[in-house]
Amino acid sequence: MRYHPHTPEDVRAMLDAIGAESLDALFRSIPQRLRLSRPLDLPPAADEITLFSELRALSARNDTAHPPFVGAGCYAHHVPPVVDQLLLRGEFFTAYTPYQPEISQGTLQALFEWQTFVCLLTGMDVSNASMYDGATATAEAALMATRVTGRSKIVVSAAVHPEYRKVLATYLRSTGDEIATVPFGADGRTDLAALEKAVDGETAAVIVGYPSFLGVVDALPEAAAIAKRAGALTISVTAEAVALGLLQAPGALGADVAVGTFQSFGNPVSFGGPAPGFFALREQYLRQMPGRVCGATVDKHGRRGFVLTLSTREQHIRREKATSNICTNSGLCALAATIHLSLLGKKGLAELARLNYARGRMLKDALGRAGIAPVFSAPAFNEMAFDVGDAEAVVARLAKRGIAAGAPLGRWYPELPKAKGALLCVATELHTPELIELFAQSVKG
């Protein structure tokens, strides 16, 4: 067993030193009747060659020859090899939460840089050191809003990612807070008249997607104005963070909290996880923020350094009075995003965002030439719903050609007038003009 360094002689010598007869004797504190009296029923041990051949065969049963045309909250982007090479440095990779700052400055400075990137892109004052994902970040933001305002109603746009709304419902079930869902209009943007009606003096927060699940650049400033008039917080949710390289920052449009995922930077889709959730907010709400946060300070010689700070909000100090129960977060995924954003820089991020916008437009034009029109008229970034006639049938047909075609909106919005035909598709820098043209022709059938 290559990961167990003990020779039989080592084991004997150690047992002798301890004064135990056998390894089993070390477990005498476990009553005999509670012990397992048979070997575990697991497949027999595999050597490295067998292991690789088995898992290669298994991975090959996932067809990933073409970049997916489905996004819907998880986006396939190019990850420069630099990201992974740096990420795999054992000093980063095999460290844990930086409890001992003297020997964790690498992790800590990287987290400080992550927090800065999140603030720059979202236009917020403060960010934490990452969350599990966009969905739980959204739920935690809603819970925070109830603490900040002392109110118990969360108003959420139906155009916010359905998975995020499901998680929100799960988290709020035990707190008894109410969720009111506001529909979107024919253009795909949140119905502002309905929002105005739903928001009242009991509303803790208004949650809007930016861009929304439908790919639409939603009416964030208008929604924020409505929330503000009622004394509620505005939470903007971003799953495709590349959009923030082109679109105005949520913080500049009135959002009080910006949450979502930076999976698009440096992280593969990996069947949906792990990914770096982010959580950013205006400074006035800092003491109610969930999760870990890294801060700058000085050491005893006056040299700048970084530590985890404001831990009196957290579970290991505050226990049942903590702002959240989160402990382990997505540090490594946040590091991957930080490295990718460093490579991109100001110019590269703007370029990547424009490129994604252009590929989205190219997809729209190519499908348009094939006689397939978008479902919604509001401006979009790189993702749009198209009326393909029978979305599930198109998905099934293209799957036979090894293409993940899109997300049929009818799965989440059966009540939508065009639910049957609506297929949510994305194009990123991975989708070449040729591939987009081929896709449009295949969808047409």
């Binding site: 001992q100 996880g273 977060n329 460093s342 590269g348």
Partner: protein, 523 residues
């Protein structure tokens, strides 16, 4: 004990007393090296550089022409502008400021810092795993689904449960999930109940997860032997108690030997028994929580199954349950139908489900790594893991006994907790010992936890460490204990070797600087 370089763990009191030619060496091999200062990415100013290579967009699509001006931003101000090599150096230099498992021994109690196999990393990066989209049609993702199915079966077997959900993102979310299941179960029986019993040795996440679930926390005192006693539970148990949360072995590394009796007491009043599986490493192949009366337990794959901790995550916190809780499990579930695998995502198929806990299907990347380890180990290797983890902890306990005070004499399993009682007589605290260990080249143990021990030093070596490494660590600990008597100020001056020492945490909290901004000054 092999010592080819001939070094001895003797530490200089002051940097001036050693010459560069004969730097002294700590027990963990720590000596000197070149460490680079490195500014923040954002402190390099504008250079017009970039570190990426992107294709031309193609077509004539100008957002400035097509989108309302109010929606657009000119560019993200403050972003760095540096080349690829500069990025590589930046992060390479920063990595050298870190201590990871790959650097040296990392006996951080309750965190199970075992070796993270490199094979697992290569496997998780196979294109078929890394690039499969969560919403790809099932026929394009059969490999991913089969892997999840097999891992679910293996985890259920290892801890003795009927079913396991892979969805929770980390241990704390697993706890939250478990408590939601408990609430849903009681709700289905007519009353969600009000309280959760938690021993004083518990992780902070236990009470926080209970509170997040709307439960009042009742803390139970453990006995003089570090164990929870049936009479304590009996006195607190009534029909308002939804569950008891027990970590077994507990955070003192002690097996809760009365667990079966405690479970009976709780079950008799209709309550459920939750197991915090953070310390599952101790029991692998030896005993199963499901056979001891636990109804539900979360795994921490990043601990027990060696997936990388990565400076704070990601984790993965699958939750195993007995059949009576299975109807409430979160979505998705993976089912096998004939030779095909399918995700159950529609609540219509699981009408009693608590719903979704996170987006998509869980931290799949961690599933690949955990499954790879289980496959490589097989049943004997998994069982040997638990045994050697316990052997290592007991060997360290033996080596350190006498030099440090052992507050509980009760048998240890996978970790052992000492305290600073003997050192405090000389004014040296647990924090000083921890910082001095850094000078020797070791990551300190978990300190000041569990809370029931004043000045706790919680040591978990894990099974992947060799006898020699444990002996070197013990040598360092003993050298520090001796130094604490002979020259306490030398211990209190530690660490002297890292390029930062004793960072001012009070200052960080009082005047929080949590991001770079132009003109940022830290003084």
């Amino acid at each position: 004990m092999g010592n080819p370089t001939g070094w001895k763990p003797s530490m200089e009191k002051d940097a001036k007393t050693t010459t560069a030619a004969h730097a002294e060496v700590g027990a963990g091999g720590a000596t000197r090296g070149i460490v680079h200062e490195e500014p923040l990415l954002f402190e390099r100013g504008s250079t017009g550089r970039s570190g990426v290579s992107l294709p031309a967009a193609g077509g004539d699509f100008d957002p400035a022409r097509e989108l309302p001006a109010a929606l657009l931003r000119g560019g993200v101000e403050g972003m760095p502008e540096i080349s690829e090599l500069e990025v590589v150096r930046h992060f390479t230099r920063m990595s050298s400021w870190n201590h990871g498992i790959d650097t040296g021994f990392y006996p951080l109690g309750s965190c199970t810092m075992k070796y993270n196999p490199k094979s697992s990393e290569a496997l998780a990066r196979l294109p078929g795993f890394a690039n499969v989209h969560p919403l790809a049609p099932a026929e394009l993702a059969q490999g991913a689904l089969e892997l999840m199915y097999r891992l679910e079966r293996a985890l259920s077997e290892i801890a003795g449960f009927d079913q396991t959900t892979l969805a929770p993102a980390a241990g704390a979310q697993g706890e939250l999930c478990g408590l939601m299941l408990i609430r849903a179960y009681h709700q289905a029986h007519g009353n969600p109940r009000k309280k959760v019993l938690i021993p004083d040795t518990a992780h902070g996440t236990n009470p926080a997860s209970s509170a997040l679930n709307g439960y009042e926390v009742v803390q139970l005192s453990s006995g003089a032997d570090g164990r929870l006693h049936p009479e304590t539970v009996k006195a607190a148990m009534d029909e308002d108690v939804a569950a008891i949360m027990i970590t077994n072995p507990n955070t003192l590394g002690i097996f809760e030997s009365h667990i079966a009796e405690i479970a009976e007491i709780v079950h008799a009043k209709g309550g459920l028994v939750y197991g915090d599986g953070a310390n599952m490493n101790a029991l692998l192949g030896v005993a199963r929580p499901g056979d001891m009366g636990f109804d539900v337990m979360q795994y921490n794959l990043h601990k027990t199954f060696a997936t990388p901790h990565g400076g704070g995550g990601p984790g993965s916190g699958p939750v195993g349950v007995k059949a009576e809780l299975a109807p409430f499990l979160p979505l998705p579930a993976v089912v096998k139908e004939g030779e095909r695998y399918r995700l159950v995502v529609d609540p219509k198929e699981r009408p009693q489900t608590i719903g979704k806990l996170r987006e998509f299907w869980g931290n799949f990347g961690m599933f690949v790594r955990a499954w790879a380890l289980i496959r490589e180990y097989g049943p004997e290797g998994v069982a040997q893991t638990g045994k050697l983890a316990v052997l290592n902890a007991n060997y360290l306990r033996k080596l350190l006994q006498g030099a440090y005070n052992l507050p509980y004499e009760t048998d240890s399993l996978h970790e052992v907790v000492f305290d600073d009682k003997l050192q405090k007589a000389h004014g040296v605290t647990t924090m000083d010992v921890a910082k001095r260990l850094i000078d020797h080249g070791f990551h300190p143990p978990t300190v000041y936890f569990p809370l029931v021990v004043s000045g706790a030093l919680m040591i978990e070596p894990t099974e992947t460490e060799s006898k020699e490494t444990l002996e070197r660590f013990a040598a360092a600990m003993k050298a520090i204990a001796e130094e604490a008597q002979a020259d306490p100020d030398a211990v209190k001056a530690a660490p002297t070797r890292p390029f930062r020492a004793r960072l001012d945490e009070t200052r960080a909290a009082r005047k929080p600087i949590l991001r770079w901004s132009p003109g940022m000054k830290v003084e």
